[in-house]
Symmetry: C2
Subunit: 407 residues, 2 copies
């Protein structure tokens, strides 16, 4: 028998994918992972097969895979030098089927759906999760509903709609829409694998295992990642908790969750020492994919972060954009503004904390910048005009004036 576990009030319940909220405290539950010796299956490429001992899946349908996982851990040596930091790496989750970490979670949730014989799935999202759920839904040949806000951009509709999902633009409050999706899902047997779906969170665990394996089987000292609904950071913390349970590491990394200042309900609660966050009425940030005013797993995240000596901080849009640019121009990594919050968070954090020179810091890059081209200001680019005839002379003028075009 599988169980969900409420981290907030420490109760366990039998698994029901249509009802993932604790009946006592209404916090979202996660999968309970029973103790016992578990192994990595390193002969496998597919992460679900590689980490199957740690996942709540009876069997793995390889045909449902879209090639998720195995994203690179990329050294950030120039940023390390520029800011006098210890070893710094990007775990770049944009190397996933639809270009974001969401695929790691969707891959597991869709396996669960298929194994339970569920033929209708859905999600509430305006961006990364919409495309991810639509892609895996297509792959699994299940009917897929994507509920989006009324004012969703055309780009986001296209990148999910191309997979044949039914897109429904819904007028009304987004937080209410999420709640409504669960009640409709329960009634109509549509498995809404939203941002804090317990099986989705199990998928995010795999990112933690990959970081461990890529770091010579050690836990890094610090992991910076963006925090929105809370599912991602819960998955990563759970990964390292399970590695500790397996005696593979001594100490869980210090997690630094980063929010955008214009939407930082958890950073505010963390700073104020509160155990529950205040839902925001208005949000405004360039980091759209983490602009959730009412994060469903927010209180659980606050508890987990505190129990594990982590931090939640917030960063300004201008620093997010500066960090996005530096990641691109110094390291060759073009990520979402939501992802570059990690570097901006590191800038802020390093003023207060003294790193040890042997520390290892990981920034989790959650998605590709291609999904949010509109966030880039063309005025910041190094653009010139020439004709074929004067190209030679134009290149001459470009040459000395700007080193690599940085402005």
């Amino acid at each position: 028998m599988e169980y969900f576990e409420c981290l907030f009030c420490d109760k366990k319940f039998p698994v029901d994918v249509f009802d993932i909220f604790c009946s006592h405290c209404r916090e979202p539950m996660i999968c309970y992972s029973p103790p016992g010796k578990k192994n990595f299956h390193l002969d496998k490429v597919n992460p679900l097969e590689k980490f199957r001992d740690f996942l709540p899946l009876e069997k793995i349908g390889k045909e449902l895979s879209l090639g998720e996982g195995n994203s690179p851990l990329i050294g950030l040596n120039r940023l390390k030098e520029k800011y006098g930091l210890p070893d710094l790496y990007a775990k770049d989750e944009s190397f996933n089927p639809t270009g974001s970490f969401k695929d790691m979670g969707t891959a597991v949730s869709v396996q669960k759906a298929v194994s339970l014989g569920i033929n209708k799935i859905g999600t509430v999202s305006t961006g990364n999760m919409a495309a991810s759920t639509a892609a895996y839904g297509a792959r699994a040949n299940v009917k897929t509903y994507v509920l989006v806000k009324e004012d969703v951009t055309q780009e986001k509709l296209l990148s999910a709609g191309i997979f044949g999902a039914s897109l429904i633009k819904v007028k009304g409050d987004y937080g209410e829409l999420t709640k409504k999706s669960f009640s409709i899902g329960k009634k109509k047997k549509i498995y809404f694998m939203n941002s804090v779906d317990p099986f989705r969170i199990e998928g995010y665990k795999m990112i933690g295992f990959e970081i461990f394996l890529q770091s010579n089987r050690e836990a890094p000292q610090y992991i910076f990642l963006p925090v929105s609904a809370g599912g991602h950071i819960i998955g990563l913390i759970k990964a390292f908790q399970e590695l500790k349970q397996q005696d593979l590491i001594q100490k869980i990394p210090t997690f630094v969750g980063v929010q955008a200042e214009g939407c930082s309900p958890l950073a505010a609660a963390f700073t104020a020492g509160q155990t529950r966050f205040q839902r925001l009425q208005k949000v405004k940030t360039i980091a759209q994919s983490i602009s959730n005013p009412d994060p469903p797993a927010g209180n659980t995240v606050l508890k987990l972060i505190r129990e594990n000596n982590g931090f939640i901080t917030s960063v300004r849009d201008e620093d997010i954009l500066k960090a996005q640019k530096e990641l691109a121009q110094l390291e060759g990594i073009f990520c979402l503004p939501a992802s570059s919050t990690t570097l901006a968070g590191l800038w802020k954090f390093k003023k207060e904390v003294k790193f040890d020179r042997n520390d290892k810091i990981i920034l989790v890059i959650t998605g590709t910048g291609l999904k949010s081209l509109k966030a880039i200001d063309p005025a910041g680019l190094d653009i010139h005009q020439a004709s074929l005839e004067d190209l030679d002379a134009t290149i001459q003028t470009v040459e000395p004036s700007s080193l690599r075009g940085m402005k």
Copy 2:
């Protein structure tokens, strides 16, 4: 001493990255790979290290890597069934740092640049290659020039410009611009790693080696891939030639190069049995990234394809878009229109060729559809409107009317 080799007139020349055209016939040259036993280094993740015996690199600077390679080979079982095909797979190169196969080539060219002490690189491109060269140029901290057409889209400028490259919009003929880039490069010591750069082609070879390893160390019977300038297909054919030279395979796969009907100079020449193609004056196709009217390696490709019993065919835009949609809706893979030419080409090809049931067919997916959202017709998507109150009823109406929203 390293040599370039002209496949067109079978001559060899010492390597000079600033002068890659044969002084006899003016065709672009490729790297000459001397015979001798070579090994795969399968303990390595980085493809340049894994395939280093096959690459013309003295040493490999791991710090220049952006995590290229190791893209998945994804089974296309639903398409296989729908069209009564033998085993069908996508080699999905959109799992690369900037979302296209170009990164495999740029990774090698940039290694060469750095090892030669070159600190200025460039490319002529309006799309995938611009972003790829700009990203690796940033990573390597070399000045990067990207020459683009005057009417380049804002999206393409942004996705290359973010890396800090100097973008120069050039008025005038695109074919002439490419030629001019080489002459300027030679004079100013800017290494223009354009589409048929010999080291770039060595990088594309790695895609062939990966296909071989992922296919249980066998050569597939058929490989379909888009053909534009010609560098990609030359690299893949060279990969399998070298595998044969190493006695690892018996037979080179049948290559089917696919062009868009609105820009198919090589398919036209192939069909007419000509050894040289006619440069086009006007092109028109949705598959922008393969709309090259004057492919620099075109004649070499015609020769190679003929020598290896391959084919070059062309497909209509409407079939390209239909193929793009089917790859997304049946398999969960959202690719560029240029990439879905492969499936459209397979549809056409299977009318004329009888596959053996034991055959294995590979479609090379060259890049992610996120780079070309404009190619999608929103009218083809399954979009609905609802309020929170009538969401329930709306889902009810969506449900029976459309299976997975396919129209």
